[in-house]
Symmetry: C2
Subunit: 195 residues, 2 copies
């Protein structure tokens, strides 16, 4: 006969009573959360690498006083600033992910963290896409002018920087999907654990 104290309210009897079912459940969900956070970390890393590379490529895009400089063009300045912001943000989020994987707790309180991540992912994704679109429009216009016929290397390097920026946007978009999923899990369960 089972003693009445061994079952809590609403708990079904376990076939293996030596493993507490609550402990087993939380171990599985902690493992899943760790895997999920690792995937986010990889996306953050990719986003950081792409936007840092785009920033550096555009920033070093000036060769002497006679050739054109990136800071002569509004849209290229926008590309530099947007990529710098996204690189810094991705670096911060990588730190937060590593902290969460190693310590098992979020940097900010949980509700603040999930909403912070999702809202910033969304806003910075729009920012980076608009910078890249503006940069693309300018680069295509420059193709027909003397700027590109006189100094083709300037235009090629701009194109590469803008393409790298699109890569950063892509991975930031993936991160945004995952952080949106975390927000939904938080709303449903009251915790970021998604089981």
């Amino acid at each position: 006969m089972r003693s009445p104290q061994s079952l809590r309210n609403g708990e079904t009897p376990s076939p293996h009573p030596r493993i507490p079912p609550h402990h087993f459940h939380s171990t599985v969900s902690a493992q899943k959360l760790r895997r999920f956070n690792t995937v986010i970390l990889v996306f953050r890393l990719a986003s950081f690498c792409f936007s840092l590379a785009a920033f550096v490529f555009m920033l070093t895009n000036s060769r002497g006083s006679n050739s054109p400089h990136w800071y002569d063009f509004d849209a290229f300045r926008f590309v530099v600033v947007a990529n710098a912001i996204v690189a810094l943000y991705s670096l911060f989020e990588m730190g937060a992910s590593v902290w969460e994987i190693s310590k098992g707790a979020t940097v900010f309180p949980e509700i603040l963290q999930v909403w912070f991540d999702f809202s910033h992912d969304q806003v910075f994704a729009y920012l980076l896409l608009s910078a890249d679109a503006a940069g693309t429009a300018l680069a295509r216009t420059l193709k027909r002018t003397e700027t590109c016929t006189d100094d083709n290397a300037f235009c090629v390097q701009s194109d590469i920087a803008i393409a790298l920026g699109y890569g950063g946007f892509l991975f930031l978009g993936f991160s945004s999907l995952l952080s949106g999923f975390r927000v939904v899990c938080f709303i449903i369960n009251g915790s970021r654990f998604h089981i």
Copy 2:
């Protein structure tokens, strides 16, 4: 004494047994849903008006054979196409909203409808923002060239069209927030009713 048939499974006894609690609950949530759908409809209408106006302003932006035309510039073509797509989509979504408010049911099956709305809102918001950003970059570049000094009306009209496009993006973004909220409600409750 209450007869045992008057209570369903898991239903708590109501202090006013003459109003069935289930009916009362669904009436309140149907009213809230109707108000929510009306707000979405207003945003869709605003988004439709702005993007249609942007489309028309850019499309009529050519004066005779000697002056520049909108279709000579890649970014302006992109603005026209993106605004046309958003205007058509908003028109369709307005129809779907009106249908839902009047008939009380969605056009597609419910799960398909909430995901369709949210995903298309997101994708078209990105599309419209990138078109507007590209258009802005081109318009700013043209300011310094002969195109604008010779025919200033062309540039002013382009600026107005792009500004209207930003308005369309703003209201599409608001719609996207609301349709995202509907998706979360659907995931939590298994229905778009948010009580």
